[in-house]
């Protein structure tokens, strides 16, 4: 009765001011769909996505459960399920975005940017370039002044664009592409798959260390911090015809101290490891040399006509949130999560003689203005026992799925364990590791 009365009154005056605030028209349906999906709790062990709702059957929008959780609402824990520490899904940042739901949402209209280009004729949003420079300015991890920025579908696409751009004229010998083990395998896989006349993969950098007076063009991949082991690597080859691609994907305060801003000739970054949006496929290159920039632009135009304008809009909004206020909040969240995970992991592994972790030293961080331990995205675990030659299989037998050392051209004694997945994944991983290390003590109490 009361409700009816209000509705009648509301209808009798402008609906726009009835609630004393702005009232939506065409956006209501999209907003309602998004909120309906977000309101599905999935027991805190999964999430529902908008894609499902588009089926027009609200009941069909299912929870997608975290590993080892099942059931329509993800409430069922599968106790004999292995810990999945493979892959690099950066779900550890998801709670930050849930906490910033209002400021990070975008409503995309059906007619948003249908053109091939922005109004300046480019396929790159200059506004987004400004935001990227702003983030680097706040963090102090890269010098962008006087440099060129291009976008790619993740840094993945930019790796190959950079190799093409740095390769010599087709009339010369193909460039020799090298990387130092342990390294991210995509460098090799891409170079081999594209099988270009302009470059070829030539194995580990160390093979060519004393060859810098040769007439070859070298392209050296340097990942810093390194994937898998988190080391702040530097280029090894020197010489006028050595070109270096610095993969800086992990050079953010969540993972490492920032000793100084990187100022390399060609640096690659990715939204995946900055804000956690791996699925958006967005990366950028910061380039010193104009000719290299122009060649990368040609690559990006010919291979895909630039990065989707929808993605550029989303990334703009994410960076807008990331740079809010003094721009420190997101890094305080991500660093404290990673720090916490590393403290807990170390507590477990330090009790073991069978397993060890990579050793990384504390360093002064110009961003946090204090000395801090590194907290890399991955644990680079070593099986120390003579008989555990295949560390991947040793862990697998204990219900832990990592990524094999051999994938990174390293010894099979190593396994990479991802620490950037969901909290559920991390809890399961630490439980399995704790049991494994406890068994070590049970079987050999004398070593206590």
């Amino acid at each position: 009765m009361k409700l009816k009365f209000i509705i009648v009154l509301c209808a009798s005056i402008s609906t726009f001011v009835c609630m004393g605030e702005w009232e939506p028209t065409w956006s209501t349906r999209a907003a309602e769909e998004a909120e309906a999906v977000a309101a599905i709790p999935c027991s805190g062990h999964g999430r529902a996505y908008l894609d499902g709702l588009i089926l027009k059957d609200m009941n069909k929008s299912r929870c997608e459960c975290n590993s080892c959780y099942a059931g329509s609402d993800c409430s069922q824990f599968l106790s004999d399920c292995p810990a999945n520490a493979d892959g690099g899904d950066p779900y550890f940042m998801e709670p930050f975005w849930m906490q910033h739901a209002a400021s990070s949402a975008i409503l995309v209209s059906g007619w948003h940017r249908m053109s091939y280009s922005y109004s300046d004729g480019s396929v790159i949003s200059q506004l987004l370039v400004e935001y990227i420079k702003k983030v680097h300015g706040i963090v102090g991890n890269a010098i962008t002044e006087g440099k060129y920025i291009v976008f790619g579908s993740g840094s993945t696409q930019l790796l190959n664009a950079a190799v093409y751009a740095l390769s010599p004229d087709p009339s010369m010998s193909p460039a020799k592409v090298v990387a130092t083990a342990p390294y991210y395998p995509l460098y090799r896989e891409q170079t081999q798959f594209f099988n270009s006349r302009d470059f070829s993969y030539e194995g580990d950098t160390s093979l060519w260390k004393n060859n810098t007076n040769s007439s070859f063009r070298f392209i050296e991949f340097v990942t810093s911090p390194n994937n898998p082991d988190g080391k702040l690597n530097k280029g090894i080859l020197k010489g006028s015809d050595v070109k270096t691609i610095y993969d800086r994907a992990y050079y953010w305060p969540h993972f490492t101290a920032i000793p100084s801003p990187a100022d390399d000739d060609l640096m690659l970054f990715s939204i995946s490891k900055l804000t956690g949006h791996a699925g958006s496929r967005f990366g950028w290159a910061i380039i010193k040399d104009e000719a290299v920039y122009q060649k990368m632009m040609i690559y990006l135009r010919l291979s895909a006509m630039g990065v989707s304008r929808d993605v550029q809009l989303r990334v703009l909004k994410l960076l807008d949130v990331a740079t809010e206020g003094d721009g420190k909040e997101i890094f305080q969240f991500t660093y404290s999560t990673m720090r916490d995970r590393w403290i807990r992991l170390k507590q477990i592994i330090y009790k073991s003689k069978r397993f060890s972790l990579q050793k990384l030293s504390p360093q002064y961080c110009t961003f946090f203005k204090r000395v801090r331990d590194p907290s890399p995205a991955y644990a680079w675990l070593k099986c120390e026992r003579q008989q555990d030659m295949n560390c991947y299989e040793t862990l697998k037998a204990a219900g832990i799925i990592g990524r094999k050392g051999s994938n990174f051209s390293a010894d099979e004694r190593y396994v990479r364990l991802s620490l950037i997945k969901s909290q559920d994944d991390f809890e399961i991983l630490t439980n399995k590791l704790r049991s494994l290390v406890a068994k070590e003590w049970e079987s050999n109490p004398a070593s206590i």
Copy 2:
């Protein structure tokens, strides 16, 4: 006073039911931003986009004006401005999406699909695959049953993925990539730029017509309907080692009759020419052979780790609208626009002896269930006069910017004029053409 009273009452009961309906919480800001931008009228000669608003200065969101319009609200017509009929921006579909604002909008949360993969481990939304099959089923332009579908950043990325997938083993001679003039130049440019050991561009198909008994692997590009001239081309080369890539981007009822569903081994389509969203960079390939599908998947994983999940969500929503009801509304809109433009263009050019248009015959369309004239995306204009050898320059002198015939490996007597841009662009183009043809009569009244 009245308003205050209502707010107090509203606050005293659940806000969810205060208006008698659902009430948003965290989505309000995004909805408000989108509606604020959409409400900027830009005098009907431009549009404002959400990107601008993210600057947090509502006043900074500027109108982006159509060609030949200027001023902060796009109200100023620049009378001495040339008609720009270059490029393929499919703005002619924009009014359809504005008419379907509520159903085509999506609200993307900050935590939407952060993972590298969908819950099935794939980088391809199976739901979107279903929608793509549904559209082809409605239109009857392609057989999808029993075939594989992969996604790319526009059909652009899929062109090269297909060439890689169809190239022979590296131990064999490189594949010879060919196309028939006039053809879309990207086929050649991509193949030459990537400079692979697996394939090379070998010129016009006609050069190899009698060579099919050779031991070479041929990869023939066939665009059907053809860009630039709209012809329903078919493959020319025959033989067991000939592989054909059918670029079917324009095989939609807006542009051509659909005589029968295409059933080629490898077909490429693009959202750009289906719904007009060129800026979203989304295309798909329909593939008969599993081995080819697997190789294309490797290409897409290594080059970019699949298409952005944000883009896949947006395309899903667009196809959801496109397939609403009997799925005919969008094509009725697009065909009627294109038909209208062609009727008006023909009325002008048919009065001329100096210019001619490509000749295309009416055909029975299984979608509209009647015989219809084609209405291609581009006019393929020929300058007939002896002295107008460079048709591009002839038109340019009259204030019309087209795309040179030589870009399509055709004679300079040809120019491609885009008919799929905004209504403003089309009006300016027809005005310029009308003046140009009128001059023909003024200077040579005897020919009347």
